[in-house]
């Protein structure tokens, strides 16, 4: 079924004709054309498709678009501030925490959700926060360092 759906993504209200039983990741990429959200494993294991749902990280491949109606979604496109990379994004660049970049959007959103509620996390808390995001290039050391650097600079 197709119906008119209202969702708020990155602070912007969208009214879109769509099938609420399509996956949220497809809705975001194909309907809203926000392709920063990546699809990896399609079964909630890799975290590449992570978006924030009312501020909390969720895997958008495990959600239906209908579940997002009336809620606030943040994708990687909504993290930069006035066209400038956020502190956290800059820290990823500076620390070399990006290699192929496929895990980066999800990794940054999981880290952002952590820093938004806990601005000065321990290393252990950072590791737990990104435990649902897999990186197959650099390993996790530089990613953890980037989150630490962003936290230090507040």
């Amino acid at each position: 079924m197709i119906r008119k759906m209202n969702v708020r993504v990155n602070g912007k209200d969208y009214e879109v004709e769509a099938d609420p039983s399509m996956r949220l990741v497809d809705f975001i990429r194909d309907k809203l054309e926000l392709t920063g959200t990546k699809e990896g494993c399609s079964e909630g294991e890799c975290g590449a498709c992570t978006v924030l749902f009312d501020g909390k990280p969720v895997t958008s491949c495990l959600m239906f678009a209908g579940q997002a109606e009336g809620h606030e979604i943040t994708t990687i496109e909504g993290v930069s501030v006035n066209g400038e990379l956020s502190r956290l994004q800059k820290a990823f660049v500076e620390c070399g925490a990006v290699q192929c970049g496929f895990c980066t959007p999800g990794m940054i959103l999981s880290a952002k959700a952590l820093l938004d509620r806990n601005p000065h996390p321990s290393k252990e808390e950072i590791k737990i926060a990104i435990s649902g995001n897999l990186c197959r290039c650099t390993g996790y050391k530089k990613i953890v360092e980037a989150v630490e650097r962003a936290a230090e600079e507040g």
Partner: protein
């Protein structure tokens, strides 16, 4: 187009009504299992009833001496809830052990039971807590012990139009509770085994034991022979050795020659030993 109808009810009564619509109707709780099955076309329901808009199913509260947990409470909500942590710490620990932060923000306790995977982490904890489930359909309600709901791999005794609405359990004051799990890694691990245990004691003697295993056999279950064995004993080295030996026997019987038996019986006794040592050393007393 995946389904003909996608319902987004706000009231439980509407959801119960929609569950009676013609064709195959599936309830959508968190979606972490359903979204995969639908995407892979392993199921083709005619309609989906999305329960995420029904606020009354998300409540966690003490009413009198009973802890009520709404079926749509997420694992994250349960793991962080101060009342659950104080009244039933093994359930909070079980919820915290599920998947990843992302999955815990979506998956629900009701969905965990309804999906009836043998490795479901909150199910042994509900069973050991003697939890009951309030199950409703349009015009009817029944209250079932959680132990009676799963009846096979991904199978429950629930009728297709029935919804699990809440769980009710009575926390025993001063009891020891623990949840143990063995997975291949810490995050995103499907349990190779999980176990929840409740011990009530007077002067160090166990007066009541409740113990449930998951991921051993087709459904989680209460190990009543172990409960009987532990009752009336003090936790010392002999009791622990005897209980662990019995755990190995029980698992061997349940698995009935399956190739995983040698491994599962060892980890079944290992998690039990871990819990009993915690209980004797004052580990997670509350």
């Amino acid at each position: 187009m995946l389904v003909k109808e996608y319902y987004s009810p706000v009231f439980l009564e509407d959801a119960l009504h929609q569950m009676n619509e013609p064709g195959q109707v599936k309830a959508l709780a968190g979606g972490t299992d359903l979204a995969i099955s639908l995407n892979e076309r392993t199921i083709r329901p005619d309609a989906v009833v999305d329960l995420s808009g029904i606020e009354e199913l998300k409540r966690i509260e003490m009413i009198g001496e009973d802890l009520h947990i709404g079926s749509m409470a997420t694992f994250a909500q349960i793991a962080e809830d101060e009342v659950v942590k104080a009244m039933c710490p093994m359930l909070a620990a079980a919820a915290l052990s599920v998947g990843s932060p992302q999955v815990r923000n979506l998956g629900t306790i009701g969905g965990n039971l309804a999906n009836a995977a043998t490795a479901a982490d909150t199910v042994p904890a509900l069973m050991a807590a003697d939890a009951k489930a309030v199950v409703r359909k349009e015009g009817g309600e029944r209250i079932l012990p959680v132990t009676e709901i799963p009846c096979g791999l991904n199978k429950t005794v629930l009728e297709p139009n029935e919804l699990i609405c809440e769980f009710i359990l009575r926390p025993a004051k001063g009891s020891f509770t623990d949840f143990e799990k063995v997975g291949r890694r810490k995050a995103l691990a499907i349990s190779r085994i999980n176990m929840a245990i409740v011990l009530e004691r007077e002067n160090d003697v166990i007066t009541k034991a409740a113990l449930a295993y998951g991921a051993v056999g087709k459904t989680a279950y209460r190990a009543s022979a172990l409960e009987t064995y532990l009752t009336g004993r003090k936790i010392d080295a002999d009791t622990i050795d005897g209980a662990c030996e019995l755990a190995e026997q029980i698992v061997t019987e349940v698995l009935n020659g399956r190739s995983t038996t040698p491994y599962k019986k060892k980890i079944a006794s290992a998690v039990l030993r871990r819990a009993l040592i915690k209980a004797s050393g004052g580990g997670e007393e509350k």
